[in-house]
């Protein structure tokens, strides 16, 4: 589904990703862990096409297409979704309006019929229930005045609504209380599907107790330096990242 080969990316003149390779098959859940500043969010931003992230080398193929050649909105329509580490508050833009605009824009881009507001609201209500989010949030501006936890849950709610093929969750577990963490995990697990893949960026092994990954990778200094199964996450939790450095030379992708 997603094939990243020797990816180099630069931000503000600084090389952040330095030869990252990663293969994600359909239906797989991959977790990426790594120290602060390693380039995890940068990877998410590069994959979703944020301006200012310059790819200097390497390639990314998503479902057979050159992902890097697409605009962010085209990537979204193709099925890439990024749950932001820091979701943005957008005052003045109504949440329901935004969601429908996004939903219909994607449908339109795929040549599907757009939904009217009644049809759309029905779907929204269903998905809200899954995320146990209050319908009041729909009437507010996008993320405006949402608590930290509500923002994160709102990201997963959007994912549930937009039904991407590849969901990149950037520290969606950070700042969540135990119950919210479980809800997020349930939301993700409910979305697991042989045709849908996940890339979970996290610092905490705890999330992986709830969402069982097929693979765990360590990203350090712009590269995948270690890959394994979920036991790797446990080792990291016990020994810290220094262990990876001591333990062996940088490894390729899984």
């Amino acid at each position: 589904m997603l094939k990243i080969e020797n990816l180099h990316a630069r931000v503000e003149g600084k090389d952040i990703l330095k030869g990252l390779s990663l293969d994600i098959g359909a239906g797989e859940v991959h977790a990426i862990m790594g120290p602060n500043g390693a380039g995890k969010s940068t990877l998410g931003n590069v994959l979703s096409g944020r301006d200012g992230y310059e790819v200097t080398e390497g390639s990314v193929t998503f479902m057979g297409q050159d992902l890097l050649a697409l605009e962010p909105e085209e990537r979204a329509a193709a099925g890439v979704f990024l749950a932001f580490q820091y979701p943005v508050e957008i005052p003045g833009v109504n949440n329901t309006y935004f969601l429908r605009a996004a939903y219909n824009a994607q449908r339109k881009a795929r040549g599907e019929a757009e939904l009217d507001s009644m049809e759309f609201l029905k779907i929204v209500r269903e998905k809200l229930k899954i995320m146990k989010l209050s319908p009041d949030l729909l009437n507010r501006a996008v993320n405006e005045g949402f608590s930290g936890g509500e923002k994160k849950r709102n990201e997963i709610f959007q994912m549930a609504l937009l039904e991407p093929k590849l969901a990149i969750l950037d520290e969606t577990d950070s700042g969540l209380d135990i119950d919210a963490l479980k809800q997020v995990a349930e939301g993700v697990n409910a979305q697991r599907d042989p045709q849908r893949s996940f890339l979970l960026i996290t610092h905490y092994q705890r999330l992986l107790d709830y969402i069982e990954p097929d693979y765990v990778h360590v990203l350090a200094d712009g590269r995948i330096v270690e890959s394994g199964d979920k036991e790797l996450a446990k080792k990291l939790e016990a020994h810290g990242y220094a262990w990876v450095a001591d333990h062996g030379e940088p490894a390729g992708a899984a």
């Binding site: 962010p72 957008i90 605009a101 996004a102 939903y103």
Partner: protein, 441 residues
Amino acid sequence: MASPFVEALAAHATETLARLPGAGLAWLDAARREQLEAFVRDGLPGARNEAWKYTALRALERRAFLAGDADAASRAVDIEALRLPGVDGPRLVFVHGVFRADLSSLDALPEGLSLRPLSQALVEDAEPLRFFLSRGGEASADAFARLNAAFATDGMVLCVAPGAQIDAPVHLLQVGVPADDDLAWHARHIVELGEGASLTLVEHHAGVGAHRHLGTQVSDVVLHARSKLAWIGLQECADEALLIRRDRLRLDADAQLRLHALELGGGLARRELDAELRGEGARLDTRGAFVPRGRQHLDTRLDIRHVAKNTASDALWRGVADQRGRGVFHGAITVAEGADGTDAALSNKNLLLSPHAEIDTQPVLEIYADEVMAAHGATVGQLDERSLFYLRSRGIPVDAARALLTQAFCRAALDDLDHEALREYLGQRLVARLPGSGTDA
């Protein structure tokens, strides 16, 4: 040497003056002649004039306009296309400053509302107008105010009787259409609300077809004690037309005025709003958005003077400039000595959508009284890159995302407009001027 601008307008001035409504009234003739002389003597304000610092008139100086439009009475205007939703009460229509009875709707005026063209009022009873029409020579008068005082052909005279509550909004429609020459027209309006009266007024400037006429407009708005005016302005002149407006507002005790204004059209459009809160408890709220694009130059100047105790003003303006559009905003609040307990706020936020766009904003606050609450602020910035990416990452195309954020930015200017149909319509007109419109969800 007079500039081509002055020369063309002053040519045949004697004949022009003789044909104006009210000609023959000694006080009016004298006032008009005096203004004409001052106009010819001083010409247009130069670059060193502080009030025109950001709005250069050098290009205008070289242009010649034909004074008045002899064919204004017969020019075709599709009035149906210019109707506004929720506004179907009394209507006064001017084409190039000339009153058009055939397009207006003045039958069955509600009780307490007197609404006439100035040309008619001057003939019927000029004396009540003397105060307004003979005091053009104020210190701040400039070439355009003088031109207007000398040559105004017509305008609206609107009076609401004390205590009368007029429900149906009054539609003041001024239209410009293509003509063989670049025309100069001048409109002079007078609005007076008696004690405790209330009214909704829609001031609507429309350009139908491309043209480069020059319009000047001077309005006096007098709100007597406890009266309330809801004033909605939709300025949609032709994109190369010139429109120079000056509004002089006077608010007596506990009078309330709420203005919602959209400045969308005009190659060069300038609006000066001078307000004096001279009665205790008076309140003035102004909201507006100016949206220059192409090579438009839109200039808004507020001069709000708190003279009486416990008066309040709140100004909230948004500017959005795209392409080579240029916006100028000057917001001055003066709290005079003795105007204790004044509460004044002014905010002007601006958005530049293109590297060639420019907005200059100048908030000015002068306080000479005690126990004053005053806040003012102005910003100029770009669309937030993070918000834009967030929307795009969800699949919203870049143009639509920019439009969505730009609309959100302007929303505050219309949010508290009570007239729902107009609020929606104005919102649509605004959106239609913004880049990326047409992409709707």
